[in-house]
Amino acid sequence: GAGVSQSPSNKVTEKGKDVELRCDPISGHTALYWYRQRLGQGLEFLIYFQGNSAPDKSGLPSDRFSAERTGESVSTLTIQRTQQEDSAVYLCASSLVGGEQFFGPGTRLTVL
């Protein structure tokens, strides 16, 4: 595809359940980022992948959050034992190294 895609676009889950969010970056983009946007707040950095280097996980808010990326393709963000404060829009972005970040449309997560 031409841009970054994310799925699902919306996810409603019950407190305590695990969720998995998917990001398909632009082909050829070696860098991939996950951000979170809570209601009325700016975006918060979560995690960064670059090629085969160790990811920068410094933004993950707790050990319930984890992410994986296979090579330079798809990434999944997993939230275990979801809490109501995890409700947010989760955005993925990809870029060439040092280049402009292109954002996906986001996944809106609602934890009941």
């Binding site: 707040q41 975006l43 954002f103």
Partner: protein, 114 residues
Amino acid sequence: AQSVTQLDSQVPVFEEAPVELRCNYSSSVSVYLFWYVQYPNQGLQLLLKYLSGSTLVKGINGFEAEFNKSQTSFHLRKPSVHISDTAEYFCAVSRPSNTGKLIFGQGTTLQVKP
């Protein structure tokens, strides 16, 4: 650590009027500066960026911003707004030697009225 403050959460303005959206940052090291726009029900789109060189940068849709190092500001301006400029605007910084991760402000909603 870097931080970004957008001084106005909402800016109402009439069509064809000028507008300025304010952004201040704090950092002990040099930074790159960005403005992103998020139109309703769309993803974030880069408006403009400052990496180095001229402090006045021009972006898409007639927007421009000026980097002021002494005031640690990067305000966004447009001389005449359109209804279609109604959107959420985010200021962001990153460190040149870092991973490129962006630190965002809380956003400013620009509401253009007819």
